[in-house]
């Protein structure tokens, strides 16, 4: 028997099992709702695992092209109206397509974006929005999007000005200054 192919189902099962287990330590009234939700969810995850196993034996579904999507639409409208439809657009060989990156490029961009996002969050927690947000915009545009230095710098400055003007001045929101920034500022003022 093939193993289930969906790690997401395992992940969801694990999440529900842990949440129900944690809830079991609370008083009856507090754990009632987590049980009402969690126990059926665990049962559904197990059912989904069974379905995954069945699906693993079948051939994987192929991604449809735009032309195939349009042909499917032809069939759909034909069924709906009871007459054979033929759309010109379905047979247009020159339909524009998205500039989908090759698998390798897509993977490296995916990894780079995750790293950039993680760095953005960690940077903001430690150094605050004012420093990290423009730096992130600049680095992303320069290193991942491949923009020139000047354009990337202009966009980064504009982003910084926009954040300050809209959120701090316009909406009066106090943005996080960063744990390390605050520490250093307090040390300097303290001296």
């Amino acid at each position: 028997m093939s193993l289930p192919r969906t790690p997401m189902t395992y992940a969801m099962l694990a999440i529900f099992v842990v949440m129900v287990a944690i809830a079991s330590q609370w008083p009856e009234e507090a754990r009632f709702m987590p049980y009402v939700i969690g126990i059926p969810a665990i049962a559904l995850c197990l059912l989904q695992l069974l379905l995954d196993m069945r699906q693993a034996r079948r051939a994987p579904k192929q991604e449809r092209t735009i032309a195939e999507e349009m042909r499917a639409a032809e069939e759909r409208v034909s069924r709906m109206t009871g007459r054979q439809m033929r759309f010109d657009v379905a047979h247009d060989a020159n339909l524009p397509t998205e500039d989908i990156a090759t698998t390798n490029t897509a993977r490296s961009r995916e990894l780079a974006t995750w790293l950039a996002f993680t760095a953005l969050l960690a940077g903001i927690v430690l150094f605050g929005f004012a420093i990290v947000a423009p730096l992130f915009v600049f680095s992303f545009l320069r290193l991942i999007a491949g923009l020139g230095w000047r354009r990337a710098a202009i966009y980064a400055i504009l982003a910084g000005v926009f954040i300050h003007a809209v959120f701090e001045i316009g909406l009066q929101s106090e943005l996080h200054r960063g744990l390390l920034t605050e520490y250093f500022v307090s040390r300097i003022i303290g001296f």
Partner: protein, 503 residues
Amino acid sequence: MFETMFGALGGLLSSPHIMGLMFVAVLIGLVVGVTPGIGGRLSIALAIPFVFGMDKVAGAVFLLTMHAVNGTSGQISSIMFGVPGDGDDAATTIDGYPMAQKGEAGRALGASITASGVGGIIGAFVFAIMIPILEPVILAFSPAEFFLLAILGITFIAFLSGGGNIFKGIILGLFGMMLSTIGLDPTTGVGRYTGDFLFLWDGLSLVTAVLAIFAVPEMIALASRGGAISKVSMAQAKYSFAQLFNGILEVPRHWWLVLRTSVIGAVIGMIPGLGGSAAAWMCYGHAVQTSKTPERFGKGAVEGVIAPETASNAKEGGSLLPTLFFGIPGSSGMAVLMGAFLILGIQPGPAMLTDNLPLVWTLIWALVVGNIMAICILFFVVRWAAMLTFVNGLILVPFILTLVVIGAYVSEGQWQNLVVLFVLSIIGYGLLKADWPRAPFVIGLVLGKVAEDSLHKALDLWGVAFFWRPLSLVLLGLIAITIGYAVWREVRDARARKAEARA
């Protein structure tokens, strides 16, 4: 009734502040609609930080207007370049793109923009007409029914967004509900899943969760694949204003079709989960069926542009009904909108009819006025708006990710929310990669607290016998039928695939 209705219109039109906000919302909504990679629900989630501090009417009008006009500009790339912005616009491509190829892009755009706007306005009126009709039904709902409605809402969305697998959608709906239990238990005061973290005592930030599950995964996917549309030329976008005007006149020429498809669209919008794609296809089919010359369809018939556009925008008015009065969002976009309403202090439910009717009428008029504004603006800028289709998605990513992080922080002013954002983003990206439907998660998260509150009240009032109340039985029956039909459909498709493979 009439006093409230026209009082709300007067209040809206006489407030320069709200009208100004609406103008900005229309501009943002139109830009977002035509820009690749940013959907309607994402734009609402991103706009939430901007409405903190606004009064509830201004904030709600701003967000609803932005959401309502999203679809009006979405069809531009479908018609000019044959690239549907999203599922709602696919039906428009079938006749819109051949029209553009025949040199009638202006006529197709004029017809589609006007049809979309008029559809939005008629949809709002259909919603308004339904209020007095449905009032007794809405007020008859008790806590027992509200708990079951929450489950039914998740089941509907799971069925329609699950792509053949309802269980994945229900699991995620339950996951959303489970996360909504985080925080202090309202009856015992026990901290549920809070650990030692004080910031979780008030519960998980809805804005953070929505941004993590929808916005971050979409942006990472957009960055991975690039996203610039190539192989098309702006030469295709050439047309005269006379052509555009001729297109506008096509709508009054086909007024009967416009009226019928608007009503169908609005009614479909009232059914949670059916959405604009179903409305657009159903009305396209209706236009073919009722045409005296159906052979023109698929080759550039203007009715093939008018019908889906009218329907997909009319459904916005319809989907406000379950969202506002039952607290059951009609679509994932409405779920995010409902979450934003909760943040603004608007509690959807039957009380909207009794305590907040002026706000309901203001929202209805906002749909009408917003659509009129969108039509007027688009006629002048449509040619330039098409240029946005060429924006490289990679360039948008850092700006949107920064806005996402600001949104997650500003919602509660807690840096710890950024850690929650990161953890949930990993789950969200996993769901996107594994092709699990994410809309039921938002609905579960939004409805979780209402469902828990209703369940406790129902059990206190009737015990487990609340399941045997007539309205409860109807709702239970609907849940069972939906799940049963989904399973039957999956089994039937599997058999068909097997037979095809054998042949």
